[in-house]
Symmetry: C2
Subunit: 432 residues, 2 copies
């Protein structure tokens, strides 16, 4: 028996022993189960608490589930489609990339709003932005390829990258602004870097990446592409694109860097998170754009998405002509209510320019703070769920009444934590 054969035999014996009595779940699935989403756990805890105490007694700031109903344009569009369209087409298969006329209308809508020159071919309709990210990562990642994210970040990115054997590399943001630390980005880029994910307006910080930031990222990535002789894809995850306050806008990313792909979702702009409808945009200037789109369409099919839900494709194509930011005013009211009250009570928050999250420092240890909040029936997500420990995320996409009603609970939380702090003579932060 040769050495190689012994290795193979030993390996097989090990594998066989592994399988005996091992049950059905794969070894590869286990780490995903251990790192299960704290956000989702909190959301389901919230549903449980609502059943126990009544919905008006629970202040659930855990999940980005819009409280603002979908605009009337959505209902109108569905009603009209049901009455006028052939149900065989309306609920039927279409090309895996989506209905051509839907893609064309969405491209034209973008062109009108951002002065771009996209065609329907550049868009692939997806089962939400999470599908767009997954099929794109499946199309580009080989095992041990690296993807860069900026901390704090939406932790699902980690799972999406690991789904395809990729390695997540974290780059810190700057202390006060939560904008990418470009010198740190430069250091973490390598010949193995396949993509960089950005998310602006940002979950969980509410920060918007302005032109200077995007130019900076583009410059660093272009240099790295030259230095390594590789292509690096900038993936812009934009479910919050239209949710900006105080006259801010999120610059459209594709004009800044040639290799940019956009993952969009109508979850927040049209309040349709449960419907799973969005698109993946791969502009013509992306290296090998046509082949990459083709790869993504195939990934869409073979991953089991097949196509974005058909009625919702046609619905968003109609509703998009209406205002895409109907919810901003109500979220803005919550943003001000909570930011003012919480800072007044002594907490330190980032004043968000976009999205619907407050990113708040915890005056005591983070898990302890989350437990104190829970005791006062306030549900928030611990910052370490975004690799931003020492913070919590407050999703203020609740109704304005709910946000106002929560203030007395917040006052009690403040009383509890700050008196604790006083007793322990430990002040974690000094400035507002």
């Amino acid at each position: 028996m040769k050495l190689k054969d012994i290795y193979v035999t030993n390996k097989n014996i090990l594998r066989n022993n592994d399988r005996q009595g091992a049950g059905l779940i794969s070894e590869r699935m286990r780490p995903f189960m251990e790192n299960n989403s704290a956000i989702r756990a909190m959301f389901e805890e919230g549903l449980r608490m609502q059943r126990e105490y009544g919905a008006d007694q629970v202040f659930d700031f855990s999940l980005g589930n819009p409280s603002v109903p979908a605009p009337e344009a959505v209902k109108d569009a569905i009603m009209r489609l049901l009455s006028t369209e052939d149900p065989v087409v309306l609920h039927g298969y279409m090309p895996n990339a989506g209905f051509p006329e839907v893609r064309q209308r969405l491209a034209e809508n973008l062109n009108r709003r951002y002065g771009t020159a996209f065609s329907g071919e550049d868009l692939i309709m997806t089962v939400g932005a999470a599908c767009g990210l997954n099929i794109l990562l499946k199309a580009i990642l080989d095992p041990n390829d690296e993807v860069i994210v900026f901390t704090p970040y939406f932790m699902e990115y980690g799972a999406y990258v690991r789904n395809y054997g990729g390695i997540l590399r974290e780059v810190r943001t700057e202390a006060e602004t939560f904008l990418p630390d470009l010198s740190e980005l430069e250091k973490k880029l390598s010949e193995r870097t396949k993509a960089v994910i950005i998310n602006s307006p940002n979950n969980p910080t509410g920060v918007i990446y302005g032109e200077e930031t995007l130019k900076g990222i583009a410059r660093v990535l272009s240099q790295a592409e030259k230095a390594f002789g590789t292509e690096i894809l900038l993936i812009s995850d934009e479910p919050y694109r239209e949710l900006c306050y105080d006259g801010h806008t999120a610059p459209f990313v594709t004009p800044f860097y040639h290799n940019t792909a956009v993952c969009y979702s109508f979850s927040k702009s049209l309040s349709l998170p449960g419907e799973r409808i969005g698109y993946l945009l791969i502009p013509g200037e992306v290296s090998g754009a046509e082949e990459l789109r083709n790869a993504c369409v195939i990934a869409n099919r073979i991953s089991g998405f097949v196509n974005a839900p058909s009625l919702m494709q046609k619905t968003v194509a109609e509703a998009v002509e209406a205002d895409l930011s109907p919810a901003v005013e109500s979220y803005d009211e919550n943003r001000r209510t909570l930011y003012e009250a919480l800072t007044e009570l002594g907490f330190t928050c980032v004043f968000p320019a976009g999205a619907f999250y407050l990113w708040m420092k915890t005056p005591v240890e983070e898990r302890q703070f989350v437990e104190i909040c829970k005791r006062h029936r306030v549900l928030v997500v611990p910052g370490s769920s975004f690799k931003g420990s020492g913070y919590v995320r407050i999703a203020y996409c609740v109704s304005p009444e709910k946000a106002r009603a929560s203030l007395s609970a917040w006052r009690e939380i403040a009383r509890e934590v700050f008196s604790t702090l006083h007793r322990e003579k430990k002040v974690v932060y000094s400035t507002r």
Copy 2:
């Protein structure tokens, strides 16, 4: 430098060279692109031909896209939901497994129809059956784990298994019946077998697996589980469950074998293929059922599905109370029209007991036959796309008018191929 370091360095150099100028698409994605779906290619070719010649001049039998409209119950349910339900709930996030009341209603519907005793907890709502298959395979497969399928089979199974590093093992079916060859199954089972996929009524043959077949499979799998000391999951992919003819029924699979999971889709029963709505059923008797369901729910989230489309979840829960096989009569008419005409013309088909496919022997070489059909504007899918070479699949889920109108084209095809055969003095088959 140690040997290990040299290896690592060499590997890195190789990897770097690989990446230089390699573009964005991963090496791992390439084989999926090369094996791209012939069915989908044919469908898109059909759309192109319809634009060129007019829809009435093209006979597209390529795709399982139901021509029968969704029952009125679907439209009624959507209209009612839009008028009565809070849009924040109707289009909002719910637990990743789906709305609890939807799962409960679907479980009760199954219990009424099949005398089972499922609860809502046993069901996970999915983005169609393809999603159910993918999240289940993600949850159970480690690299090089084996999954068995019976030829001919829906080729996407191969991609679904390879998505998670699994290896597909093909087991032949018996020559006349297209039922699994159980002695071949016994031989192909190994300690690496994690799952066996069955699909009844079958795509592409239209065969239904009766009680004897299911008992046989169960016996062989139970023996293998004992012999290897492993768990083997039987995955029943059932998009055609309700599409049975001549009083046949497809026996419900879970009572036959303890480790059975069901992937269901409403695509065919409610004519909603574009909506991507179905469920994954993992009964309590499956080994570690609760943990496996939990793994599948997490896989559902992290793969980017997140949840099944919310409006459609609630819609099918209502529509399921109506008849789930409204389309059978119209498909039955096509089945008879085409089977009678084609066998009359000299072709050899399996007379299908279920689904909406005719599996027909090709009198000349398969690719050549497909090309001849195409010249007569008849689109069919080559059998090798199902690992069943020497056949074509005719998807007769078209309108009865279309099926009848195609007969003259079929006559011309027969004249062409059989005269060719005559000239070449080569008869491929002898019996009907």
